[in-house]
Each structure stands twice: as C-alpha cells, then as structure tokens.
C-alpha cells in the first residue's frame, strides 16, 4: 500500500537518501534498522510530508503524495521526543486530532470522549486522562503519544525510535504492547530504530539502511541468519568479521589465519578479495590437542576473559592478527566452560555455517588508496 520510488534527499551536497525504493504491504509491521546518519529519520520525515524529496516520490494506495501537504496524508507519526502538547492534558492531547481534524472534525463531545477513553484503555492509561503532561513518566508519555496518533485511525503509523527514551525493562514491555496493538488494529506500522535486537523483535520484515541505501529487506530470521552483506552482518553485532583473499582451494587467507570456507561457495579464483563472517554462537572452543574434522573450520586464538549476562556468557579471544573474536555460549544448553587466561585454544565451527561475501574491485581500490 505504501510505495517508495527512487527517493533522494540531499542536504548541502550530501545525499541522506540515495535513490531508495521500497514497498510496504497493508497491515505489515516493518522495522527499519540503521546506524545514525543512515537516513532513517529522513525517510520517515519524507513519508510524513514534513520535508519534500529532491527526486523520486512516495505513493500511498496509489496516490502520489508529493504535492499532498503533511496534514492531508492520513499518516500518523510518533516522534522520538513524543512531542506532546505541553499546555493540554492527556485527554486533550488524545482528543486533539479528533476535534480539530481539517476534513472531518468530530463535533460530538460524547463521541470524542468515547473514542478517547477507548484508545486510552488500549494503551492502559484510563486513569490518567486528566493528568498534565509534565506529571507523566517517560513510558506514560510514550503511550499517550501512541494513543494520540492511533485514535484518528491513520492508514500508516510511523514510529521514530519509539523505545529509545525508555529503560530496558520498559522497552521490553512496550515491545509486547506495540505488537499487541498492531495485531488488534491492523494498522500498518513503520518502526525505525538503531537497535538491532529491537528491529529483529518487532517487524515481520526488517529493512537495513545505510548511507541512504537499502542493504537488505527480509524477514527477521533471514536477516539474522543470512545477512546479505558484510555491512548488515556488522550492524547485527552478532558476527565475527574477517577479510582476506581466496586461495583457490576453498580457503580464505585472512590475517588471523587460514579459514576453511563453506563448501557451497563456488570455486573462486585464487586471490579474490572476500569478506567472511561467522556467527558468534556457532563457534565452539577446543583445546589445541583436539582434532578438527574435514567439515570444520578453525582459527587459533588466545583466551582473554568472559562477559557474563544472565543466560548468556560471551568469551573473548585474541586472534593471530591481534583482533578480538567473540564466542557466545548459552548456559541453558551447555555447562559453562572454564578457560585459562593467556592459554591457546582453537575456535572451531562447521565450515558451512560461515558466510562469504565478494568484495567489489572498486571497494578494494578505495581501500588501497586509503592505506597509501
């Protein structure tokens, strides 16, 4: 229902969005993931109509929105700072869109009241209707902002880092809340975040954005298990990354050592530049004495320390090229292992679990030029 065609927006010569195209189906929950500066807020603002694109267009239900002003688009927007009206109460904030809608203002006081209370109930703030905005906590403000946007039944609801201002506990609760509301109302949600876990948890589809371009747009599990590029793998924060050259025999010569590549990778010429990554929870740690099978890849490493976070423990190892690799262990699956600091071990994983990405010649040249 929402189609974005080759959207470009430049700020003083720099392209915040570069020929971006995307389609969003009705009733979907789309997560937009990207680091700061990737253009995700710009994209939201262009869809909402707060700014105009330099090129390209946004179409909603087949209607070209380029010349439609923001207040006629029927697109809801929950901003990062919530932007609640400070001089109005909670009730008045939520009722605002109903009462003063440009096309169809709701004059009937009783009807306004009914819909406002209904929406407040949906977000769990029934008793807060008469409060002033300044008296609310962060989570409550968030819910008021949501209620205010949803009560006018927008076709599409844009959320700009909605969980950013909340503490971890509240964030988890709100994640569930948002999913519940989405299921109940069937409105299309477009959720922007810089937090990869949040993006994966929320959407039925995750769009990864960087430097104004889409890197990947897939279901969360695909993005998580099969990142399309090394950049996506980097954002996910769950992979150990390497770069090196193929040796023509299915191996990759990286600074950390020789990595046995996946057998499914096509036979590449020797000396092709490639990027390689392996998920941190696919790695096992073995002593140097233990054998390595033909279907396994291995790298030597020295143990540094471990980070403990509840059911997960992350072990840190120093590789031959002096970088640090992470190995994640889920304690519910295995007994916690003990390693000796400074001791040499081997990081082992099934060869086929590794991911190889070719590196374009242009990137290589740029890297060489930079190093020179």
């Amino acid at each position: 229902m929402l189609d974005i065609h080759s959207l470009t927006k430049r700020y003083g010569g720099e392209a915040a969005l570069d020929g971006l195209s995307l389609s969003v189906a009705e009733g979907a929950y789309l997560s937009l993931l990207g680091p700061s500066g990737s253009g995700k807020s710009t994209l939201l603002r262009l869809i909402a109509g707060y700014e105009t694109p330099d090129e390209g267009q946004v179409t909603l239900d087949g209607r070209n929105l380029t010349t439609v002003p923001a207040h006629e688009r029927g697109i809801g927007f929950v901003s990062q700072g919530f932007a609640l009206f400070p001089h109005l109460s909670v009730f008045e904030n939520v009722a605002f869109g109903l009462r003063y809608h440009a096309r169809a203002p709701l004059r009937d006081g009783a009807e306004v009241r009914r819909r406002v209370m209904e929406t407040l109930e949906m977000v769990g703030l029934t008793d807060y209707a008469q409060r002033q905005i300044q008296q609310l906590s962060g989570g409550q403000k968030q819910r008021v902002a949501l209620a205010r946007t949803l009560v006018v039944r927008p076709r599409l609801c844009l959320l700009d880092e909605p969980l950013g201002a909340l503490d971890a506990n509240l964030r988890q609760r709100m994640t569930l809340e948002l999913r519940r509301i989405h299921a109940a109302l069937g409105i299309t949600f477009f959720h922007v975040t810089g937090n990869e876990m949040e993006a994966l948890a929320m959407g039925d589809r995750v769009v990864v954005l960087d430097a104004g371009r889409i890197l990947q747009a897939d279901a969360p599990d695909i993005v998580y298990n099969k990142p399309k590029s090394i950049a996506v793998a980097r954002f996910l924060n769950r992979y150990n990354l390497f770069s090196g050259r193929t040796d023509g025999r299915g191996g990759i010569a990286a600074a950390a050592g020789l990595i046995a590549g996946p057998s499914t990778a096509d036979q590449r010429q020797a000396s092709d530049f490639v990027d390689f990554c392996i998920r941190i929870d696919k790695i096992r740690v073995q002593t140097e004495a233990e054998a390595i099978g033909p279907s396994q890849a291995a790298l030597p490493a020295t143990y540094i320390t471990s980070e403990f976070s509840g059911a997960i423990i992350t072990h840190l190892f120093r590789l031959a090229d002096d970088r640090v690799a992470e190995v994640e262990d889920h304690l519910s699956h295995r007994r916690p292992a003990e390693y000796a600091a400074g001791q040499r071990y081997r990081l082992v994983w099934p060869r086929d679990e590794g991911l190889v990405f070719p590196v374009s010649a242009a990137v290589v040249e740029a890297a060489i030029r930079r190093a020179a």
Partner: protein, 305 residues
C-alpha cells in the same frame, strides 16, 4: 508550511505536481507573510530617508524652497564655524557619553548577569533598572534641573556633608549637565543587553578556567569580555542612536548653550529651513551608518538571536 496563505498556495501547486514547484509555492507564501512589514518599512522609513537626502540638495531662500538642486546648503554648513562646532560637540558628547555609560553600566551588567544566581532576583534587578523608564523621558530630564542647580539637591547634600565650601556652578547649564542627564537616561540600554549576554555564559566555562589556574583578570579578559561583546555592540548601537538624535536633553539642561546637531535640526525646522535641516540630518545619518556598520563587523547579530 506555516499559514493559510501558504496552504492555499500549496493547493494551487497541486496542478504542477513536482516537488520543485511545491517548494516555489511555499516560498511565495513566505513572501506574502513578509510583504506587509517590508512595504511598511520601505514606504515609511526608506522613502522618508531618501526624501531627506534629496531635500538637502534643494535651493533654500529665506522665505521659500524649491526643488532646484544645488550644493549651497552643504557649503553653508561646512563653511560656518558655528555649525562645524556643533558637529564637533555632537561627536564629542557622543563619545564621552558612550564611554561613561560603558564604564558605569558594564560592571552593573556583569554583576546582575554573573554574580546574581537567583533568576527572580536577576529579573527584579533588571526590572528595577527599567522602571524609571516609565516616567516620561521629558520629565526625567527636567528632574535634573533641581538636582544640579546651585541650590539643587546635589549641592545641598555636598554642602551639608562639608565636602565643598561653595556650591558648584558648573553642574547645570553646561556640557557636564547634558552628559550627566544623557548618561543617566540611556545607561539602561547598555546594562540590559550586556546583562543578557553575560547571563548566558556557561558557568562551567569559568569554573574550568579556575581549575586550570586562571586568574580573575584573565578569566575576565578571555571569557567574559569576548562573550559579552554582542551585548556591548547592541548596547552601543542603541545608545548611539539615542544620543546622536538628542536635542531635548541639551535644550533642557544647558539652557540652549549646548547645540547639538539635533538642536539645529529642530530650530531650522522651526523656521521652515527644511533644506538645511536635511543637511544636518544626512550628516547624522552618515555618522550613524558608519558606526553601525563598524559595530556589526565585530559581531554577527543574526546568529546571536
């Protein structure tokens, strides 16, 4: 996207359909907001000023005036010692007043802006400085007469305190009285802007400088003075505008002994010598323009707002 005017403009732009024409229509809406103010200023300020320049070149006889262009009035001004004197006095008193206002008002502004922590006390002090303003300017000027005369308040107090033996004559009906009057009336224009700028200085800057071992003098010279500069510039512009155009204070406090350019303009207009008055007006304008341009070079005012 800011008003109904722009809104309507945007709707007409729908026919065009491209983002560029939308942007153009939005700009048109902006200019519609700007038009009333701009037209007002052009018609009621720029035009009169141009008129003044134009008239300064008109031919003026004792009883009539016509629009034949001539340099006579200008020559007359610069060749008459009285008028040149007056120009000199104007500039002199302007500088002296400005300097005194800075010396007297700056410490007060720093005190209010920097040393007073409580916002309410700060505001109250500033209001206290502004309150005298609400008594008519003219009455306030007049009030200096019974203050400065030979049997005025100042002399009475000084005599009673035994600080002087005879009343000071020079206090009233001299250049000094004019300066005192102008300083008192216009000093607020310096205190206000400077106090405002100083209060915006981040205290942690000063604390950091202290921690690094800077002396008070150094902190003042490198932090407070530069950051208060926009306030000093604004204050100086305000004061200069007021002082250069002054004629009431000299008239009231010097018994017409001190003749500033403003006084000349008033007397010339009184005898309908418009052309000559315009010459003085243009000279004042030039003085003011040079000052403002010079001061605005020091500080970019738009950024400070």
């Amino acid at each position: 996207m800011s008003t109904t005017v722009q809104d309507r403009a945007v709707q007409t732009a729908r026919k065009a359909g491209s983002p560029r024409s939308l942007a153009r229509q939005q700009a048109a809406g902006q200019w519609m907001l700007l038009a009333p103010g701009v037209i007002w200023m052009v018609l009621c300020l720029v035009l009169p000023m141009l008129m003044m320049i134009y008239v300064s070149f008109w031919t003026q006889t004792t009883f009539s005036i016509n629009s034949t262009l001539t340099l006579d009035n200008w020559v007359a001004f610069f060749s008459t010692p009285t008028y040149l004197d007056s120009l000199l006095t104007t500039v002199e008193l302007w500088f002296v007043t400005l300097a005194l206002i800075f010396v007297i008002g700056y410490p007060v502004a720093v005190f209010i802006g920097l040393f007073v922590r409580d916002k309410t006390v700060q505001t109250s002090l500033l209001v206290l400085c502004v309150v005298p303003f609400w008594t008519s300017f003219l009455i306030r000027v007049l009030a200096w007469r019974p203050m400065l005369g030979t049997d005025g308040a100042v002399n009475i107090i000084l005599l009673k305190l035994g600080l002087i033996r005879q009343p000071i004559e020079a206090l009233l009906f001299t250049q000094y009285s004019v300066v005192i009057g102008m300083v008192q009336i216009y000093v607020v224009f310096m205190v206000g802007p400077v106090a405002f700028m100083v209060s915006r200085i981040d205290r942690s800057l000063i604390e950091a400088a202290r921690d690094l071992g800077a002396s008070t003098a150094r902190i003042f010279l490198t932090i407070i003075l530069p950051l208060s500069l926009p306030g000093i510039v604004v204050g100086s512009i305000f004061v200069s505008v007021m002082v250069l155009g002054e004629f009431a204070t000299p008239s009231a406090l010097s018994g017409d002994k001190v003749n500033l350019l403003g006084n000349i303009i008033v007397t010339q207009v009184g005898s309908l010598k418009w052309a000559f008055a315009s010459v003085c007006g243009v000279i004042l304008t030039v003085l003011m323009a040079v000052t403002v341009v010079a001061l605005l070079r020091i500080v970019n005012l738009r950024r400070e707002i």
